[in-house]
Assembly symmetry: none
Homo-oligomer: 237 residues x 2
DNA sequence: CCAAATAACTGGTCAGACCATACTATACGA
DNA sequence: TCGTATAGTATGGTCTGACCAGTTATTTGG
Protein backbone atom coordinates (compact mmCIF):
# COMPACT_ATOMS: atom_id res chain seq x y z
CA UNK A 1 0.00 0.00 0.00
CA UNK A 2 2.90 2.28 -0.41
CA UNK A 3 1.17 4.05 -3.26
CA UNK A 4 -1.04 5.65 -0.64
CA UNK A 5 1.87 7.66 0.62
CA UNK A 6 3.94 10.19 -1.16
CA UNK A 7 7.59 10.58 -0.54
CA UNK A 8 8.38 12.68 2.48
CA UNK A 9 8.89 16.32 1.65
CA UNK A 10 12.51 16.98 2.35
CA UNK A 11 13.00 20.05 0.28
CA UNK A 12 16.38 21.48 0.96
CA UNK A 13 16.61 24.89 2.55
CA UNK A 14 18.70 26.11 -0.35
CA UNK A 15 16.02 25.04 -2.83
CA UNK A 16 13.43 27.10 -1.04
CA UNK A 17 15.72 30.10 -1.27
CA UNK A 18 16.30 29.43 -4.96
CA UNK A 19 12.57 29.24 -5.58
CA UNK A 20 11.93 32.44 -3.73
CA UNK A 21 14.61 34.47 -5.49
CA UNK A 22 13.75 32.95 -8.87
CA UNK A 23 10.19 34.09 -8.54
CA UNK A 24 11.23 37.56 -7.48
CA UNK A 25 13.45 37.87 -10.52
CA UNK A 26 10.97 36.39 -12.97
CA UNK A 27 8.23 38.64 -11.67
CA UNK A 28 10.49 41.60 -12.05
CA UNK A 29 10.50 42.46 -8.36
CA UNK A 30 14.26 42.13 -8.49
CA UNK A 31 15.59 43.80 -11.57
CA UNK A 32 18.87 43.13 -13.34
CA UNK A 33 21.72 45.23 -12.12
CA UNK A 34 20.12 45.36 -8.72
CA UNK A 35 22.51 44.57 -5.92
CA UNK A 36 21.37 42.17 -3.27
CA UNK A 37 22.32 42.61 0.39
CA UNK A 38 25.53 40.92 1.47
CA UNK A 39 25.60 37.30 2.52
CA UNK A 40 25.64 38.14 6.23
CA UNK A 41 22.60 40.36 5.83
CA UNK A 42 20.75 37.79 3.78
CA UNK A 43 21.21 34.96 6.25
CA UNK A 44 19.56 36.92 9.00
CA UNK A 45 16.84 38.20 6.68
CA UNK A 46 16.08 34.67 5.55
CA UNK A 47 16.85 33.00 8.84
CA UNK A 48 19.18 30.38 7.41
CA UNK A 49 22.78 29.37 7.75
CA UNK A 50 25.47 30.69 5.51
CA UNK A 51 26.11 27.30 3.90
CA UNK A 52 22.52 27.00 2.76
CA UNK A 53 22.50 30.56 1.53
CA UNK A 54 25.72 30.11 -0.38
CA UNK A 55 24.46 26.86 -1.84
CA UNK A 56 21.39 28.66 -3.10
CA UNK A 57 23.35 31.60 -4.48
CA UNK A 58 25.73 29.22 -6.17
CA UNK A 59 22.86 27.45 -7.87
CA UNK A 60 21.28 30.71 -8.94
CA UNK A 61 24.56 31.79 -10.44
CA UNK A 62 24.94 28.54 -12.34
CA UNK A 63 21.40 28.94 -13.63
CA UNK A 64 22.23 32.44 -14.77
CA UNK A 65 19.91 34.42 -12.54
CA UNK A 66 22.57 36.24 -10.58
CA UNK A 67 26.22 37.10 -10.76
CA UNK A 68 28.46 36.88 -7.74
CA UNK A 69 31.40 39.24 -7.89
CA UNK A 70 34.13 38.67 -5.39
CA UNK A 71 34.40 41.50 -2.89
CA UNK A 72 31.84 43.46 -4.89
CA UNK A 73 28.54 41.88 -4.08
CA UNK A 74 25.70 39.86 -5.52
CA UNK A 75 23.98 41.24 -8.61
CA UNK A 76 20.85 40.27 -10.46
CA UNK A 77 21.41 39.42 -14.08
CA UNK A 78 19.13 39.89 -17.04
CA UNK A 79 17.74 36.52 -17.94
CA UNK A 80 16.85 37.60 -21.44
CA UNK A 81 18.77 35.11 -23.48
CA UNK A 82 16.87 36.00 -26.62
CA UNK A 83 18.81 39.20 -27.05
CA UNK A 84 22.30 37.71 -26.75
CA UNK A 85 23.93 41.07 -26.45
CA UNK A 86 27.35 40.08 -25.20
CA UNK A 87 28.89 39.32 -28.59
CA UNK A 88 27.83 42.78 -29.67
CA UNK A 89 29.70 44.48 -26.90
CA UNK A 90 32.93 44.45 -28.82
CA UNK A 91 31.13 45.96 -31.75
CA UNK A 92 30.17 48.98 -29.72
CA UNK A 93 33.57 49.29 -28.20
CA UNK A 94 34.97 49.57 -31.71
CA UNK A 95 32.45 52.14 -32.79
CA UNK A 96 30.62 54.00 -30.08
CA UNK A 97 28.15 55.42 -32.57
CA UNK A 98 26.52 52.01 -32.72
CA UNK A 99 24.88 52.60 -29.35
CA UNK A 100 22.52 54.84 -31.25
CA UNK A 101 21.22 51.78 -33.10
CA UNK A 102 20.81 49.97 -29.83
CA UNK A 103 18.81 52.87 -28.47
CA UNK A 104 16.63 52.73 -31.54
CA UNK A 105 15.59 49.21 -30.65
CA UNK A 106 15.09 50.32 -27.10
CA UNK A 107 12.78 52.99 -28.40
CA UNK A 108 10.83 50.43 -30.45
CA UNK A 109 10.19 48.34 -27.39
CA UNK A 110 9.54 51.15 -24.96
CA UNK A 111 7.04 52.84 -27.25
CA UNK A 112 5.17 49.56 -27.26
CA UNK A 113 5.52 49.42 -23.47
CA UNK A 114 3.95 52.82 -23.09
CA UNK A 115 1.15 52.02 -25.50
CA UNK A 116 0.33 48.71 -23.82
CA UNK A 117 0.75 50.08 -20.32
CA UNK A 118 -1.85 52.75 -21.02
CA UNK A 119 -4.56 50.13 -21.30
CA UNK A 120 -3.14 47.30 -19.21
CA UNK A 121 -2.03 49.12 -16.09
CA UNK A 122 -3.56 48.58 -12.68
CA UNK A 123 -3.85 51.14 -9.92
CA UNK A 124 -0.83 49.62 -8.21
CA UNK A 125 1.22 49.87 -11.42
CA UNK A 126 0.34 53.51 -11.72
CA UNK A 127 1.34 54.21 -8.17
CA UNK A 128 4.68 52.53 -8.68
CA UNK A 129 5.38 54.62 -11.74
CA UNK A 130 4.37 57.77 -9.92
CA UNK A 131 6.64 56.93 -7.01
CA UNK A 132 9.60 56.51 -9.32
CA UNK A 133 8.68 59.75 -11.00
CA UNK A 134 8.61 61.61 -7.71
CA UNK A 135 12.04 60.38 -6.78
CA UNK A 136 13.49 62.77 -9.32
CA UNK A 137 12.22 65.68 -7.32
CA UNK A 138 13.66 66.27 -3.88
CA UNK A 139 11.57 67.73 -1.07
CA UNK A 140 13.45 70.98 -1.55
CA UNK A 141 12.23 71.09 -5.12
CA UNK A 142 15.67 70.44 -6.55
CA UNK A 143 15.97 67.86 -9.30
CA UNK A 144 18.21 64.85 -9.03
CA UNK A 145 18.93 62.57 -11.89
CA UNK A 146 20.51 59.17 -11.67
CA UNK A 147 20.75 56.26 -14.02
CA UNK A 148 19.13 53.99 -11.48
CA UNK A 149 16.10 56.24 -11.02
CA UNK A 150 15.71 56.53 -14.77
CA UNK A 151 15.98 52.78 -15.22
CA UNK A 152 13.47 52.14 -12.46
CA UNK A 153 10.98 54.51 -14.06
CA UNK A 154 11.22 52.94 -17.49
CA UNK A 155 11.09 49.44 -16.07
CA UNK A 156 7.99 50.27 -14.09
CA UNK A 157 6.26 51.18 -17.34
CA UNK A 158 7.40 47.99 -19.01
CA UNK A 159 6.09 46.08 -16.03
CA UNK A 160 2.78 47.92 -16.25
CA UNK A 161 2.42 46.56 -19.78
CA UNK A 162 2.19 43.13 -18.16
CA UNK A 163 4.55 41.45 -20.55
CA UNK A 164 7.41 39.69 -18.87
CA UNK A 165 9.56 39.54 -21.96
CA UNK A 166 9.21 43.23 -22.54
CA UNK A 167 10.41 43.85 -19.00
CA UNK A 168 13.44 41.66 -19.42
CA UNK A 169 14.24 42.95 -22.88
CA UNK A 170 14.11 46.51 -21.62
CA UNK A 171 16.24 45.78 -18.62
CA UNK A 172 18.57 43.69 -20.71
CA UNK A 173 19.21 46.52 -23.15
CA UNK A 174 19.57 49.19 -20.49
CA UNK A 175 21.80 47.06 -18.35
CA UNK A 176 23.91 46.26 -21.37
CA UNK A 177 24.14 49.87 -22.42
CA UNK A 178 24.85 51.06 -18.92
CA UNK A 179 28.61 51.05 -19.14
CA UNK A 180 28.56 53.04 -22.35
CA UNK A 181 25.75 55.42 -21.54
CA UNK A 182 25.69 56.04 -17.82
CA UNK A 183 28.70 58.36 -17.65
CA UNK A 184 27.49 60.35 -20.64
CA UNK A 185 23.91 60.59 -19.48
CA UNK A 186 24.68 61.46 -15.89
CA UNK A 187 27.18 63.96 -17.22
CA UNK A 188 24.84 66.17 -19.16
CA UNK A 189 21.90 65.49 -16.90
CA UNK A 190 23.74 67.44 -14.24
CA UNK A 191 22.69 70.52 -16.11
CA UNK A 192 19.55 71.87 -14.50
CA UNK A 193 17.80 72.54 -17.80
CA UNK A 194 18.43 69.03 -19.08
CA UNK A 195 17.27 67.54 -15.82
CA UNK A 196 14.13 69.61 -15.99
CA UNK A 197 13.45 68.53 -19.55
CA UNK A 198 13.82 64.87 -18.71
CA UNK A 199 11.54 65.07 -15.71
CA UNK A 200 9.02 66.99 -17.74
CA UNK A 201 9.06 64.35 -20.47
CA UNK A 202 8.71 61.62 -17.91
CA UNK A 203 5.73 63.37 -16.41
CA UNK A 204 4.09 63.68 -19.81
CA UNK A 205 4.49 59.95 -20.36
CA UNK A 206 3.02 59.23 -16.97
CA UNK A 207 0.07 61.52 -17.53
CA UNK A 208 -0.77 59.89 -20.85
CA UNK A 209 -0.61 56.43 -19.34
CA UNK A 210 -2.73 57.47 -16.38
CA UNK A 211 -5.30 58.86 -18.82
CA UNK A 212 -5.26 55.47 -20.58
CA UNK A 213 -4.39 57.26 -23.81
CA UNK A 214 -2.23 54.71 -25.60
CA UNK A 215 -1.45 56.77 -28.66
CA UNK A 216 -0.36 59.76 -26.59
CA UNK A 217 1.74 57.57 -24.28
CA UNK A 218 3.53 56.09 -27.26
CA UNK A 219 4.08 59.52 -28.74
CA UNK A 220 5.43 61.00 -25.51
CA UNK A 221 7.76 58.05 -25.10
CA UNK A 222 8.95 58.54 -28.65
CA UNK A 223 9.57 62.23 -28.05
CA UNK A 224 11.50 61.47 -24.89
CA UNK A 225 13.71 58.77 -26.37
CA UNK A 226 14.25 60.65 -29.64
CA UNK A 227 15.42 63.61 -27.59
CA UNK A 228 17.73 61.46 -25.50
CA UNK A 229 19.09 59.79 -28.58
CA UNK A 230 19.68 63.20 -30.15
CA UNK A 231 21.66 64.33 -27.12
CA UNK A 232 23.63 61.12 -27.32
CA UNK A 233 24.54 61.73 -30.93
CA UNK A 234 25.58 65.30 -30.15
CA UNK A 235 27.81 64.08 -27.38
CA UNK A 236 29.48 61.46 -29.54
CA UNK A 237 30.33 63.91 -32.28
CA UNK B 1 52.72 50.61 -16.78
CA UNK B 2 49.95 48.55 -15.33
CA UNK B 3 49.25 47.11 -18.75
CA UNK B 4 52.29 44.97 -18.24
CA UNK B 5 50.45 42.94 -15.68
CA UNK B 6 47.39 40.84 -16.09
CA UNK B 7 44.80 40.45 -13.43
CA UNK B 8 45.68 37.93 -10.79
CA UNK B 9 44.14 34.55 -11.39
CA UNK B 10 41.88 33.90 -8.47
CA UNK B 11 40.13 30.78 -9.58
CA UNK B 12 37.93 29.45 -6.87
CA UNK B 13 38.80 26.13 -5.31
CA UNK B 14 35.38 24.82 -6.16
CA UNK B 15 35.87 25.67 -9.81
CA UNK B 16 39.02 23.62 -9.96
CA UNK B 17 37.15 20.68 -8.50
CA UNK B 18 34.36 21.16 -11.02
CA UNK B 19 36.88 21.20 -13.86
CA UNK B 20 38.57 18.08 -12.63
CA UNK B 21 35.40 16.05 -12.16
CA UNK B 22 33.96 17.35 -15.42
CA UNK B 23 36.95 16.09 -17.28
CA UNK B 24 36.81 12.72 -15.58
CA UNK B 25 33.18 12.31 -16.55
CA UNK B 26 33.67 13.54 -20.10
CA UNK B 27 36.66 11.25 -20.57
CA UNK B 28 34.63 8.33 -19.35
CA UNK B 29 36.80 7.66 -16.34
CA UNK B 30 33.67 8.17 -14.31
CA UNK B 31 30.71 6.43 -15.89
CA UNK B 32 27.01 7.09 -15.31
CA UNK B 33 25.62 5.28 -12.30
CA UNK B 34 29.04 5.21 -10.68
CA UNK B 35 28.98 6.16 -7.05
CA UNK B 36 31.55 8.63 -5.84
CA UNK B 37 33.16 8.39 -2.40
CA UNK B 38 31.39 10.24 0.39
CA UNK B 39 32.02 13.89 1.01
CA UNK B 40 34.39 13.23 3.93
CA UNK B 41 36.47 10.91 1.81
CA UNK B 42 36.55 13.34 -1.08
CA UNK B 43 37.74 16.27 0.96
CA UNK B 44 40.79 14.40 2.13
CA UNK B 45 41.41 12.93 -1.32
CA UNK B 46 41.22 16.40 -2.86
CA UNK B 47 42.73 18.24 0.07
CA UNK B 48 40.01 20.86 0.30
CA UNK B 49 37.45 22.00 2.81
CA UNK B 50 33.96 20.64 2.88
CA UNK B 51 32.40 23.96 1.87
CA UNK B 52 34.42 24.11 -1.31
CA UNK B 53 33.70 20.50 -2.08
CA UNK B 54 29.99 20.94 -1.54
CA UNK B 55 29.99 24.09 -3.63
CA UNK B 56 31.58 22.15 -6.46
CA UNK B 57 29.21 19.20 -6.12
CA UNK B 58 26.28 21.57 -6.04
CA UNK B 59 27.41 23.18 -9.27
CA UNK B 60 27.99 19.83 -10.93
CA UNK B 61 24.50 18.77 -9.93
CA UNK B 62 22.99 21.96 -11.33
CA UNK B 63 24.88 21.40 -14.55
CA UNK B 64 23.54 17.88 -14.69
CA UNK B 65 26.75 15.93 -14.33
CA UNK B 66 25.95 14.28 -11.04
CA UNK B 67 23.02 13.56 -8.82
CA UNK B 68 23.22 13.95 -5.07
CA UNK B 69 20.85 11.71 -3.15
CA UNK B 70 20.38 12.46 0.50
CA UNK B 71 21.82 9.79 2.73
CA UNK B 72 22.48 7.66 -0.33
CA UNK B 73 25.52 9.14 -1.95
CA UNK B 74 26.77 10.99 -4.99
CA UNK B 75 26.13 9.42 -8.38
CA UNK B 76 27.31 10.20 -11.86
CA UNK B 77 24.43 10.97 -14.19
CA UNK B 78 24.00 10.00 -17.78
CA UNK B 79 24.72 13.11 -19.75
CA UNK B 80 22.07 12.51 -22.40
CA UNK B 81 19.33 13.34 -19.93
CA UNK B 82 18.08 16.55 -21.42
CA UNK B 83 18.45 19.34 -18.96
CA UNK B 84 16.75 22.64 -19.48
CA UNK B 85 18.75 25.38 -17.84
CA UNK B 86 17.56 28.48 -19.67
CA UNK B 87 15.42 30.42 -17.19
CA UNK B 88 13.21 31.89 -19.90
CA UNK B 89 12.58 28.56 -21.55
CA UNK B 90 11.65 27.12 -18.20
CA UNK B 91 9.18 29.94 -17.85
CA UNK B 92 7.52 29.06 -21.13
CA UNK B 93 7.55 25.36 -20.40
CA UNK B 94 5.60 26.06 -17.24
CA UNK B 95 3.04 28.06 -19.14
CA UNK B 96 2.97 27.79 -22.90
CA UNK B 97 0.66 30.76 -23.17
CA UNK B 98 3.63 32.96 -22.37
CA UNK B 99 4.91 32.56 -25.93
CA UNK B 100 2.16 34.96 -26.85
CA UNK B 101 3.91 37.61 -24.79
CA UNK B 102 7.15 36.82 -26.52
CA UNK B 103 5.46 37.23 -29.88
CA UNK B 104 4.11 40.55 -28.76
CA UNK B 105 7.65 41.83 -28.31
CA UNK B 106 8.54 40.33 -31.64
CA UNK B 107 5.73 42.33 -33.15
CA UNK B 108 6.95 45.53 -31.50
CA UNK B 109 10.35 45.13 -33.06
CA UNK B 110 9.25 43.92 -36.45
CA UNK B 111 6.78 46.74 -36.88
CA UNK B 112 9.67 49.09 -36.32
CA UNK B 113 11.70 47.05 -38.79
CA UNK B 114 9.10 47.44 -41.48
CA UNK B 115 8.71 51.14 -40.83
CA UNK B 116 12.43 51.81 -40.91
CA UNK B 117 13.06 49.49 -43.84
CA UNK B 118 10.59 51.43 -45.93
CA UNK B 119 12.81 54.46 -45.92
CA UNK B 120 16.22 52.92 -45.35
CA UNK B 121 16.22 50.07 -47.84
CA UNK B 122 18.53 49.92 -50.83
CA UNK B 123 17.79 48.28 -54.15
CA UNK B 124 19.78 45.26 -53.09
CA UNK B 125 17.79 44.95 -49.86
CA UNK B 126 14.58 45.03 -51.80
CA UNK B 127 15.76 42.34 -54.14
CA UNK B 128 16.72 40.10 -51.26
CA UNK B 129 13.31 40.49 -49.70
CA UNK B 130 11.62 39.81 -53.01
CA UNK B 131 13.67 36.69 -53.50
CA UNK B 132 12.67 35.32 -50.13
CA UNK B 133 9.09 36.18 -50.91
CA UNK B 134 9.19 34.28 -54.17
CA UNK B 135 10.49 31.19 -52.50
CA UNK B 136 7.04 30.63 -51.04
CA UNK B 137 5.65 30.16 -54.50
CA UNK B 138 6.82 27.19 -56.51
CA UNK B 139 7.13 27.36 -60.28
CA UNK B 140 4.00 25.29 -60.50
CA UNK B 141 2.14 27.96 -58.61
CA UNK B 142 1.74 25.83 -55.49
CA UNK B 143 2.52 27.40 -52.15
CA UNK B 144 5.09 26.04 -49.77
CA UNK B 145 5.54 27.27 -46.28
CA UNK B 146 8.47 26.56 -44.03
CA UNK B 147 9.74 28.08 -40.85
CA UNK B 148 13.09 28.76 -42.44
CA UNK B 149 11.62 30.65 -45.40
CA UNK B 150 9.49 32.69 -43.06
CA UNK B 151 12.45 33.47 -40.83
CA UNK B 152 14.56 34.49 -43.82
CA UNK B 153 11.89 36.83 -45.08
CA UNK B 154 11.45 38.59 -41.76
CA UNK B 155 15.17 38.83 -41.17
CA UNK B 156 15.68 40.34 -44.58
CA UNK B 157 13.33 43.14 -43.61
CA UNK B 158 15.10 43.68 -40.33
CA UNK B 159 18.35 43.83 -42.23
CA UNK B 160 16.89 46.33 -44.66
CA UNK B 161 16.24 48.63 -41.72
CA UNK B 162 20.01 48.83 -41.37
CA UNK B 163 20.06 48.33 -37.65
CA UNK B 164 22.29 45.54 -36.49
CA UNK B 165 20.67 45.20 -33.11
CA UNK B 166 17.25 44.89 -34.65
CA UNK B 167 18.48 42.06 -36.83
CA UNK B 168 20.07 40.42 -33.86
CA UNK B 169 16.99 40.78 -31.68
CA UNK B 170 14.70 39.44 -34.38
CA UNK B 171 16.82 36.40 -35.02
CA UNK B 172 17.29 35.89 -31.30
CA UNK B 173 13.59 35.86 -30.58
CA UNK B 174 12.65 33.69 -33.52
CA UNK B 175 15.43 31.25 -32.86
CA UNK B 176 14.47 31.10 -29.23
CA UNK B 177 10.81 30.55 -30.01
CA UNK B 178 11.50 28.04 -32.72
CA UNK B 179 11.17 24.91 -30.63
CA UNK B 180 7.84 26.06 -29.27
CA UNK B 181 6.38 27.56 -32.38
CA UNK B 182 7.73 25.71 -35.37
CA UNK B 183 5.61 22.56 -34.99
CA UNK B 184 2.47 24.60 -34.40
CA UNK B 185 3.08 27.02 -37.23
CA UNK B 186 4.08 24.45 -39.81
CA UNK B 187 1.12 22.42 -38.70
CA UNK B 188 -1.63 24.84 -39.59
CA UNK B 189 0.29 26.42 -42.43
CA UNK B 190 -0.15 23.16 -44.28
CA UNK B 191 -3.66 24.27 -44.91
CA UNK B 192 -3.78 25.86 -48.37
CA UNK B 193 -5.92 28.77 -47.24
CA UNK B 194 -3.62 29.62 -44.35
CA UNK B 195 -0.59 29.40 -46.60
CA UNK B 196 -2.25 31.69 -49.08
CA UNK B 197 -3.11 34.19 -46.37
CA UNK B 198 0.43 34.28 -45.08
CA UNK B 199 1.94 34.76 -48.51
CA UNK B 200 -0.59 37.44 -49.29
CA UNK B 201 0.27 39.29 -46.08
CA UNK B 202 3.96 38.98 -46.82
CA UNK B 203 3.41 40.43 -50.24
CA UNK B 204 1.50 43.36 -48.81
CA UNK B 205 4.38 44.11 -46.48
CA UNK B 206 6.83 43.92 -49.33
CA UNK B 207 4.75 46.18 -51.52
CA UNK B 208 4.49 48.85 -48.83
CA UNK B 209 8.22 48.77 -48.19
CA UNK B 210 8.97 48.95 -51.91
CA UNK B 211 6.70 51.97 -52.14
CA UNK B 212 8.65 53.53 -49.28
CA UNK B 213 5.43 53.91 -47.37
CA UNK B 214 6.55 53.47 -43.76
CA UNK B 215 3.17 53.79 -42.12
CA UNK B 216 1.64 51.22 -44.46
CA UNK B 217 4.55 48.84 -44.00
CA UNK B 218 4.17 49.03 -40.24
CA UNK B 219 0.44 48.49 -40.50
CA UNK B 220 0.77 45.49 -42.81
CA UNK B 221 3.37 43.98 -40.51
CA UNK B 222 1.05 44.51 -37.58
CA UNK B 223 -1.82 42.89 -39.41
CA UNK B 224 0.34 39.93 -40.30
CA UNK B 225 1.73 39.34 -36.84
CA UNK B 226 -1.56 40.00 -35.08
CA UNK B 227 -3.11 37.40 -37.31
CA UNK B 228 -0.34 34.92 -36.60
CA UNK B 229 -0.58 35.58 -32.90
CA UNK B 230 -4.32 35.09 -33.04
CA UNK B 231 -3.87 31.71 -34.69
CA UNK B 232 -1.35 30.83 -32.03
CA UNK B 233 -3.77 31.66 -29.23
CA UNK B 234 -6.48 29.65 -30.91
CA UNK B 235 -4.16 26.68 -31.15
CA UNK B 236 -3.13 26.89 -27.51
CA UNK B 237 -6.72 26.95 -26.26
C1' DC C 1 20.99 -19.28 11.47
C1' DC C 2 18.04 -15.49 11.68
C1' DA C 3 16.44 -11.24 13.67
C1' DA C 4 17.07 -7.38 16.47
C1' DA C 5 20.07 -3.89 18.40
C1' DT C 6 23.91 -1.09 17.41
C1' DA C 7 27.62 1.28 15.16
C1' DA C 8 29.26 3.61 11.18
C1' DC C 9 28.21 6.42 7.40
C1' DT C 10 25.35 9.45 4.48
C1' DG C 11 24.19 14.25 2.91
C1' DG C 12 22.05 18.71 5.03
C1' DT C 13 22.57 22.45 8.08
C1' DC C 14 24.48 25.75 11.19
C1' DA C 15 28.09 28.36 13.57
C1' DG C 16 32.35 30.66 13.92
C1' DA C 17 36.73 31.83 12.43
C1' DC C 18 40.26 33.60 9.18
C1' DC C 19 41.89 35.50 4.63
C1' DA C 20 42.63 38.91 0.90
C1' DT C 21 40.76 42.46 -1.24
C1' DA C 22 37.52 46.58 -2.26
C1' DC C 23 35.16 50.41 -0.61
C1' DT C 24 34.52 54.38 2.68
C1' DA C 25 35.08 57.71 5.89
C1' DT C 26 37.93 60.04 8.72
C1' DA C 27 41.90 62.58 9.94
C1' DC C 28 46.05 64.65 8.87
C1' DG C 29 49.07 67.56 6.07
C1' DA C 30 49.83 71.09 2.54
C1' DT D 1 39.97 74.57 2.16
C1' DC D 2 41.25 70.84 -0.49
C1' DG D 3 43.50 66.46 -1.38
C1' DT D 4 45.67 62.54 0.02
C1' DA D 5 46.95 58.82 3.23
C1' DT D 6 45.31 55.68 6.41
C1' DA D 7 42.36 53.00 9.29
C1' DG D 8 38.11 50.69 9.57
C1' DT D 9 34.42 48.24 7.59
C1' DA D 10 32.23 45.21 4.28
C1' DT D 11 32.78 41.87 0.77
C1' DG D 12 32.92 36.93 -0.97
C1' DG D 13 35.99 32.52 -0.41
C1' DT D 14 37.60 28.95 2.49
C1' DC D 15 38.23 25.89 6.33
C1' DT D 16 36.93 23.51 10.57
C1' DG D 17 33.97 21.35 13.70
C1' DA D 18 29.71 20.17 15.30
C1' DC D 19 24.95 18.27 15.20
C1' DC D 20 20.83 16.20 12.83
C1' DA D 21 18.06 12.64 10.60
C1' DG D 22 17.87 9.13 8.16
C1' DT D 23 20.43 4.77 5.69
C1' DT D 24 23.45 0.89 5.60
C1' DA D 25 26.50 -2.42 7.45
C1' DT D 26 27.91 -4.84 11.41
C1' DT D 27 27.54 -7.07 15.56
C1' DT D 28 25.04 -9.33 19.03
C1' DG D 29 21.43 -12.01 21.30
C1' DG D 30 18.13 -15.59 20.97
Amino acid sequence: MESLFQEVQVEKVSDKIVDQLCRLIQEGKLTPGHRLPGERKLIEMLGVGRSSLREALNKLETLGYIEIRKRKGIFVRSIDSTLQLDPLKKLIQEDQHKVVQLYEVRSDIEQASAFAAASAHTAADLETIRNHLNRFTEPSGALTFSWQHDLDFHCAIARASHNLFRVHATIGILDFAREFIQPILEGFALSATHSATIVEQHRAIYTAIAARDGAAAREEMKIHLDWTNQKLVEHLN
